[in-house]
Amino acid sequence: MKRIVAFALVVIVMFAVMGFTTPGLLDRTKLGLDLKGGFEILYEAEPLTEGGTVTQESLRQTAKSLEKRVNQNGVGEPEVTPEGRNRIRVKIAGVADEAKLRDLIKRPANLEFRSAQGCSSPTDYCKVELTGADFVEGAARVEFDSFSNPLVSIKVKEKQKLADVSNRLLNQRLAIMLDGELLTDPVVRVPLTDGTAVIEGQETIEEARNLAEVINLGALPLKLTEKYTQSVGATLGQKSLEETVLAGAIASLLILVFMIVFYRLPGFVAGICLSVYVWLLLAVFWLMGATLTLPGIAAFILGIGIAVDANIITDERIKDELRNGKSLTSALRSASKLSFRTILDAHITTLIAGIVLYYMGQGSVKGFAVVLIWSILINFVTNVFLPRFLLHLLVQSGKFNKLAYFGVKESEVRAL
């Protein structure tokens, strides 16, 4: 009796924890762009100038700057990752205005120095004096003036050009504009002859640093071309999610019924363990901050298949041992022992395939592999050890001695 109570307690506590946490977990599971709409772009970076090279550093910098641009636009978590030697993958889920965002990502930071010479009003800066191409690439830096105020310094390629412009504009305003927006329009007090110009008016070091980075992105010798794009409408993504979850639910239900009809008590225990498996996998997802994608769900559902297999292997062994005339307790013990090795070998071979996929694959293949690997690991806990523990409790309670509970007929049992 004590063991039945223990069993009931364990099961009730597990289900209470699961019931209590599942809604929150579901809420917090990050969905990929194929499930809630969004887009993914794989860029290939090339040097702008011929003979230039794409370095890891410049690639990382570019990725960082891209991420910043997306973030500035206020969309939820973008994933920007450098990939391989010269690629950058951008994934953004749940975007309302895709075209605008894509444009923003692609747009080079266009730095211009303009003046109001010959323009309609003194603040209408219509004459372009210097463009981004006149500045040294990647040379924008944060410096400080004598009052420790941060400023951004940039270098021109030809000193003479800047000197000419500043001479001509002496005591007039020179507007510094980034992507058509006015950053600052200081009055030129002295001719700039050393080839360096400064942008003042940054309130904080952080702000100055951001500005320098944005300017440098425009000046980075990397040209981005789209090599692969996937864009999914929100409605379509939502539909995929609903359909796939429905398919998973129906499959789980069918498997559950099958297990109980075929294996009775162990089948029922398997059902409990499968629920724990699904819950734990969700929890691991949340802990890792991983994103669930359509291939991920496919792996999830196949993971259920593997989990059921672990149970079937054990339960079949129990049947076998019972048919051989062993007592329940010893049948359970030897079945656990004998089936463990089988399950171990079977799982590890699948794990090998999963790990290879993880390291060789990209994009959706990787998403699939991650879920597959975790499925197998979690399986060991929830579908190898947990069912054993639960079955031991039940069997030792002495309430379930009838062979029918294990799907074995008395007539099948051989005398030892």
Partner: protein
């Protein structure tokens, strides 16, 4: 000894011979089809653009063709179903073209349309194809090494031949029916490899276990042992396949369009996985092991 198994019941080893012929025929057919027609590569492996549109009302093919003809998007193929349009463009559409397609479709044909647009460049397509192939080979080698380590090399080799057979049959069927091959298909083939090894391992594990207590004198003893092992694991093999088939069947019927072909590949692969574990892997092992037995009398060896 569980002598009642395998003596008077169905003889799997014997039955495997005609079935092996069938497998060889399918394989040859597959080779011919692959050589002649190849695979119907989707855009993941061939550059271009695929556009999937989920529509809120039915639109007939004519209208869509007219719509496409009024734009300059290049060569395309179009399939229309009740709530979904699939368009494949041979060329990679530019961002502007993609946006234009979207806005014009929404304004002219269906205001509630939702799009999935994939554009793949030729280099990436080639690269993905190569990576997928290398991935499969590496996985196979890994599995052979592991099996040789845990069992013996004959088990490893037999298992890998069986899984190569499965993978190839799925590829052949996709070639024969010209079903579209995309990245998810590769996922399916890799999962099938994992599963069919899983299947084979369970039977081999039982053979290994039975070998420990067996006194083998003749080849017939070995045949009996293999048959017995298959019988002992048969209900597990069948039940597992049924449950996994239930899962992929549900994905196929109720799941989303984008993983439908993945599910189909899984269903075919799972079926042949179960079949090949019993009728190909085990007899192959027997063939390799049996030759050793007939040359000299060996005592039972256990693998691990």
């Amino acid at each position: 000894m569980r002598s009642e198994y395998g003596d008077d019941k169905f003889n799997f080893v014997k039955a495997s011979k005609p079935l092996l012929t069938i497998s060889i025929v399918i394989t040859l057919l597959g080779i011919i089809f692959l050589a002649v027609r190849g695979l119907n590569y989707g855009i993941d492996f061939r550059s271009g653009t695929s556009v999937d549109i989920s529509i809120s009302k039915s639109i007939d093919k004519e209208t869509v063709e007219q719509f496409l003809a009024s734009h300059d998007f290049g060569e395309h193929t179009l399939t229309v179903s009740q709530s979904r349009l699939s368009i494949r463009f041979k060329e990679a559409l530019t961002e502007e073209q993609g946006n234009q397609l979207r806005t014009d479709f929404v304004s002219q044909l269906d205001e509630q349309a939702s799009f999935e647009i994939n554009v793949v460049d030729a280099d990436i397509a080639r690269e993905q194809q190569r990576n997928a192939l290398i991935g499969m080979l590496v996985a196979c080698v890994g599995i052979i090494i592991y099996m040789s380590f845990r069992f013996e090399w004959r088990f490893g080799l037999a298992a890998v031949i069986a899984l190569a057979h499965n993978a190839f049959i799925v590829i052949s069927i996709f070639s024969i029916f010209q079903l579209q091959v995309n990245l998810p298909f590769i996922l399916a083939v890799l999962t099938i490899i994992g599963y069919s090894v899983n299947d084979t391992v369970v039977i081999f594990d039982r053979i290994r276990e039975n070998l420990r207590f067996a006194k083998l004198k003749t080849k017939a003893d070995l045949v009996k042992l293999v048959n017995r092992s298959i019988w002992q694991t048969l209900s597990r093999s069948i039940n597992t396949v049924i449950t996994v088939l239930l899962a992929s069947g549900c994905l196929f019927v109720f799941g989303s369009e984008s993983i439908r072909l993945f599910s189909l590949a899984m269903i075919i692969g799972l079926f042949f996985g179960a079949y090949s574990s019993i009728f190909i892997a085990s007899p192959l092992w027997l063939l390799m092991r049996g030759n050793k037995l007939s040359s000299k009398k060996v005592k039972a060896i256990s693998g691990a």
